[in-house]
Symmetry: D2
Subunit: 327 residues, 4 copies
């Protein structure tokens, strides 16, 4: 159906298979919270967990963790997805000629009206992947099937509208700093050892229910869409298992797109870290998180507050999260 | 250019003119923060003001103040603006046939890929108006002119990307409850006396820099787009002046669309509350704020946290704000 | 997934079933042109059939059979489909501020650049339905199945790009004139007798391979989108069978949307005329064809020339057909 | 407002200035058809001119002069314009889950419904530029000004809806064949001598009111969007003057995008051939015309029939023209 499009990522399939990963059955996960559960790891957030982190906030500094949206921004265009667009629907001079509200030329001359509209792939800019974004064999996390629950305007389960506002302990793991570089090399696959080393260097431990954000340093290329997208560093599968299974993170994220490194480590699965986290573990992923301010301030532990748009049925939603210092 | 579209609001122009308002010169405001200022009242937010409210947070309850986005949702369509749309760009079965990433049928069968895209007028769902949304005589707040600063993809000043994350004291004024009704009548214009009466009933005073949210009860009709849009109750000009000039609110908002009541109180200006707040006072407006949870809990004072998408150049941006109880 | 939307058509299901229709098996048709055929009745068009009609053209009069596209135009919005939109991407003043081509202010001041973009449901304005638009039980005409041939960006068979330019004998059947009215009543279902009566009145016979266009007079309401869409007159099933089976029309069309009348005559099928023509007979349908000029001139037979946009994979495509007088 | 985007064309400005061109005043043209005229050279088409060419049609061969529309197709994206998109709004399986028409599961299972939508820059695929596409100093052809006639949804004059169906003598000038190459070299600027040489080789003369189509051979790269767009060959100014002023062409077109060659020959004007033809001479331009079939058949003279979509107010519109052999 499509003419060849230059793929920014080498979506090759690996030949070798790490033993530990090979043992993991490649089927979607069953939620321990019951057959109707649509939240997965988000169930780890409770009134108590929120109270715990909110009570530790100190001062009034705010770190803005999101990126800007603009025409030409990075995105997942290689798969044919639409690029971010913004256009004017009303302008002060245009309304004088159009008179869209039928108020007459004098009123349009006096009241200078500006309106605009946007369109975007839901995975554009700083965003969170809903659990339905990637499944296995026609099912998503907790065995909801596409054939029964996917309509032409989205999923009837686990849509972005089901994601609650996130108020949680946040931990930033600065892998780039641990490696002593500004930015991890192209295609670098972050290992479990990298995460543990960086955490030790930072003197921070992970707790159940954390929002864990990995800094690769890739954000330095954000203004250069093609370079940002070209073979980014990303997380490996064992590192992902360390976060989701051992550390019991509630959400994982990074400053890159799209979170994991390529080519895939798993034969026959081109995005195994996505399917592992979303479909097997029920752990949402955040991408394009801007961690530069936190890195500069060496702020590794914080209150994370972020609430994604409630796009009914969507497989992702943009959000503008913030980090607040804690004692 | 357009065939007649049914206007949900009677955009008539008033014949009489309240004395106090008539005295107000109908020109844009000059920022007290200097000729380069693009933030207006948002300058009232400081590290100290944020620290002050954050230190008062109690417990871990979160009120979600935003609405859902779905096809058929209410919107400002009468002016020709595009309606909210969501569509699938990738589905588990579709990718098997399309193979957009050129990974082959087996991989597409195994990895069940869902993607979607959205388009919307920027004033859709819970959102904040940037200061450039309405100006007077070709200028916006602080005398930036459309001819010099408006391009085809947005404003070069006061765009949504300039709006910082909002962390502030929030006050909800439940005018519907004060009036003893579930919902204010169609077209009802909220007065200064209503605001003062409701505040007295609630036992809450306004402070400089507050985010002030007016509850009309209109949200009860949100699922019925045409009824929600048809002649809503809204704020009057004197009430707006009470909030912006006397109470020095940083942001004002409501649960309706579009904030003010119609027909206009001012001859020759069909949205005088918008131009007063945005263009004359530099006070952003929030619309479609869901206040039902706060109303039910009789929670009138809270920590307001909301961060709108950084849509470069835009005249508005969606956000999903939350309210947190304070002592 | 959706809030209730006012349906302009009463999509009720009939209780009684005409005998002749009941006998027709409700499965998709098998093409007499072979298992790979994607064209159906369009195979009736040959170099000889085109030469035959082209040789009869007289003079230089052209009838424009298409409608205009504009914001607020009629459309099939009741099913949630996007409305027609047009917006400016470049304007003379905007480019001066944006400088999208990086040519500098002087060049942008001198060269006044205008660009625009559009979006639309493919069944917008004058258009032709491809055979994949409606099928039965997961298959379309000639047994292509959605599961095997439908991707996320369209069908891999019978897409609009497969429809050739149409050059054929055209016959307009003015049913409104035959009935002695300007416009058929709301919901009127055109019968076989109406078609035969109108043809007799016109003194025109149908031939194999014709493009047959039915005039209901509905076009008079085109400027009033809601009225145009509200319970239109349309074709009944026996009339459709008369055109497709007995008269062997290549394409059928009308000046209404959407061609057939509602409620349906067939239990369990809400668009039986569409499924009969497209899926069972392989006959494409044209809608929103502007026949007013032909009606005024009492021009019932003509050379029809129309070429729809080659939208790869699409289930319909807009076109602007013309009619040329013949001797 | 924008991050740098890779420009496929070197939009440099020339240093030298051909004498003849320098003499041409750089202001918009005044229509000889009067101050209200919006058609320019299209006035050359008359009932007589159409009759003349239609009477010469021989046989039933049809040459399809248009290209296909698909995701990833070439386009003018370097200026930030939206790329062609198509997406499904209804699918057989999706409607079963969505039930958009509220007909119930059985009816949705039985009636397999497919719908799709498209969005595109109006200059996408085979299209015609309206006269308002490029002007000079804020005015377009015949002195209509943007300030008075351009609204937020298009121009109130010379919009695409004003362009009549084109029925005219067509002449294809195969410059590539004249030069003995399959495709003119990248950036090659077609000269007047090239046109005259090719016409002599073809044994065809131009007449007033012709649709003149230049073949560069570029269409061979159409399936490779980036290569198609990268520094294409195109028409020079003197060649354009030969066509518009001396030969009195009604429309000029080519198989490339965007018609002229770059860098510009005129200091301070980055698209002088466009402004010359559209704004000074009132001659519409067609781009992306597929001339491969005509070239293969050595068919240089034909009846040209093409009718562009009536997009109200638009600066261009897609069309699918055909060529018919004549004696």
């Amino acid at each position: 159906m499509q003419t060849p499009i230059l793929l920014p990522l080498a979506l090759g399939l690996a030949l070798s298979l790490p033993a530990a990963i090979a043992e993991m059955p490649a089927t979607v996960g069953t939620s321990p919270w019951g057959p109707d559960d649509q939240l997965g790891a988000l169930n780890l957030m409770t009134e108590r967990s929120r109270a715990s982190i909110l009570s530790r906030i100190t001062g009034g500094t705010v770190y803005d963790l999101s990126v800007e949206y603009f025409i030409g921004m990075p995105g997942w265009h290689a798969a044919g997805d639409p690029r971010y667009q913004i256009w004017m629907t009303h302008t002060p001079r245009g309304t004088v000629n159009d008179d869209p509200l039928q108020v007459g030329e004098a009123a349009n001359d006096h009241v200078s009206y500006t309106g605009s509209a946007v369109s975007m792939y839901t995975h554009t800019g700083t965003h969170i992947d809903a659990l339905n974004h990637f499944g296995l064999d026609g099912e998503i996390y907790n065995h909801f099937s596409a054939d029964e629950h996917l309509g032409d305007t989205g999923w009837q389960v686990t849509g972005a509208e089901t994601i609650p506002p996130i108020v949680a302990r946040g931990v930033m793991i600065d892998v780039a700093a641990f490696k002593g570089v500004d930015m991890l090399p192209a295609g670098y696959r972050v290992t479990r050892a990298d995460l543990e080393g960086a955490l030790a260097r930072q003197g921070v431990a992970l707790h159940t229910g954390d929002v864990v954000l990995i800094r690769t340093g890739r954000m330095a290329l954000y203004a250069h869409a093609n370079r940002y997208m070209d073979n980014p560093p990303g997380l490996g599968l064992e590192a992902a298992r360390f976060l989701a299974e051992e550390s019991r993170a509630m959400i994982v994220g990074a400053d890159n797109l799209s979170f994991e490194a390529f080519p895939s480590e798993i034969d026959g699965n081109y995005v195994p870290v996505h399917t592992y986290l979303l479909a097997q573990m029920g752990v949402p992923i955040m991408e394009l998180v801007n961690l530069e301010g936190l890195a500069e301030a060496r702020r590794y532990e914080f209150a994370f507050i972020g609430a994604s748009l409630k796009l009914r049925g969507a497989d992702a939603a943009p959000l503008r999260p913030i980090a607040l210092p804690i004692h």
